[in-house]
């Protein structure tokens, strides 16, 4: 029986905006996707609350483009944007985790054996928090494209990995930010796994000349929308 004291659930995702678990063109899904139906779980406190990270315990890393005072190779960029929910309410003081390949398309990771140079001045980890009004910002270098073994001559488009927590465990979002005009996007099974074309294209950041710093760094804007808390009843 429902009660007026029940926490307000998050709304279901809008159709077509989320990738499936089983995406035939992305080989790694084949043995990792559930065959059984998922069981729908009405949200209670476990789903509507989530971890809150304090900058005191999790210090920000705002600039990935410099390590030990030395500049990483590559095209310096500034990425900023606003995190809101589906009701356009800003999500303040929430953590944003960032990781990416270097300008040559190589991760500082033992599992990445791509024959491209590592950069001693680039590690590829960042962490920032949104401000009172949901805005975040970090500096980095533009990551390179790199090959992967999904199919013959497969290449990932330039991308930055991003992780968001929001205010509830059911709002957790891990995604990738892509760059405008990348011809690899239309060949990439991971990007193409999102059924809705407009939703897919929202993962492409936009050049933002207003935050571009003269003689220094190109600016890009990438806004994030997390699930809203809904009056819309979950479908029964």
């Amino acid at each position: 029986m429902e009660s007026a004291r029940d926490p307000v659930p998050f709304r279901p995702y809008q159709p077509g905006t989320q990738p499936p678990y089983d995406a035939a063109a992305y080989g790694s899904t084949h043995k990792r996707h559930p065959l059984e139906n998922l069981i729908r779980l009405p949200h209670a406190i476990t789903e509507t609350t989530g971890p809150q990270f304090s900058p005191a315990h999790f210090p920000p890393i705002r600039d990935l483009s410099v390590l030990n005072g030395k500049a990483a190779l590559g095209e310096r960029i500034i990425v900023h944007g606003r995190i809101t929910d589906e009701d356009s309410r800003p999500v303040p003081h929430t953590i944003v985790e960032i990781w990416q390949a270097n300008a040559s398309g190589r991760y500082q990771h033992p599992g990445d054996q791509h024959d491209a140079p590592l950069d001693p001045n680039f590690r590829g980890e960042g962490r920032v928090f949104t401000d009172d009004d949901g805005w975040y910002r970090f500096t980095s270098i533009k990551p390179g494209a790199y090959p992967w073994r999904n199919h013959y001559n497969a290449w990932r488009p330039n991308h930055i990995h991003l992780s968001f927590f929001g205010s509830g465990f059911a709002q957790r979002l891990i995604t990738q930010m892509y760059f405008p005009g990348d011809p690899l996007l239309e060949l990439d099974p991971i990007f193409l796994s999102i059924p809705d074309e407009a939703a897919r294209n929202r993962l492409i950041c936009k050049l933002d000349i207003s935050v571009t710093e003269p003689e220094s760094a190109l600016g890009y804007r990438f806004d994030i929308v997390l699930r809203g808390r809904g009056a819309t009843p979950m479908e029964g």
Partner: protein, 177 residues
């Protein structure tokens, strides 16, 4: 209304944001009954998933400066994860129900375009009988995939099968949240 942003896989190189100490939720000095939760993540061929990020969230005891209530652990070359945390108590469900004590668990990995959400309850806890989620799963084998088993004193174990195994091993129950 703007739609929520689409998810994408965490990929194989997420360890760049890994901090192994996050797997110990007691590291800031939280007080309570210390327990460990260990298990393997296994794919549909029965092979260990060695590049997953397993995330744990528990709503009780309440998160505070000494207890983050959230942890993240990599799976190792045997597919195993290992958390040290505090044993959660019961938490309110919907309506006037109580939920049995549980951990919320999300698995992120290469090949998962979005996280898979599951839970770990505790074997032999009488409150499992009245938990609304557990009660809704009729097949006892499937229900059992959500229940951690004791593995020594204050040590609990749960394996997570992303897909039915090659010998028909039961797939873990995953939740649509």
């Amino acid at each position: 209304m703007p739609a929520a942003t689409s998810g994408q896989t965490i990929g194989p190189f997420w360890h760049l944001i890994e901090h192994p100490e996050w797997a110990d939720l007691t590291r800031f000095g939280a007080a309570g009954e210390r327990v460990t939760l260990t298990g393997s993540v296994i794919d549909g061929d029965g092979n260990p998933v060695t590049d997953a990020a397993v995330e744990l969230w528990q709503a009780d005891p309440p998160a505070d400066d000494r207890f983050p209530a959230f942890g993240r652990c990599r799976t190792d070359e045997r597919g195993e994860f290992h958390f040290t945390t505090l044993k959660p108590g019961p938490v309110p469900g919907r309506g006037n129900a109580q939920q049995a004590p549980h951990f919320a668990i999300t698995v992120h990995a290469r090949g998962l375009l979005k996280g898979l959400v599951t839970r770990a309850y505790f074997a032999d806890d009488a409150r499992n009988e009245t938990d609304s989620l557990l009660s809704s799963i009729e097949d006892p084998k499937r229900r059992g995939t959500l229940i951690a088993q004791p593995d020594g004193s204050k040590r609990w174990r749960i394996d997570i099968r992303l897909q039915r195994g090659p010998k028909g091993e039961t797939e873990t129950v995953f939740l649509d949240v």
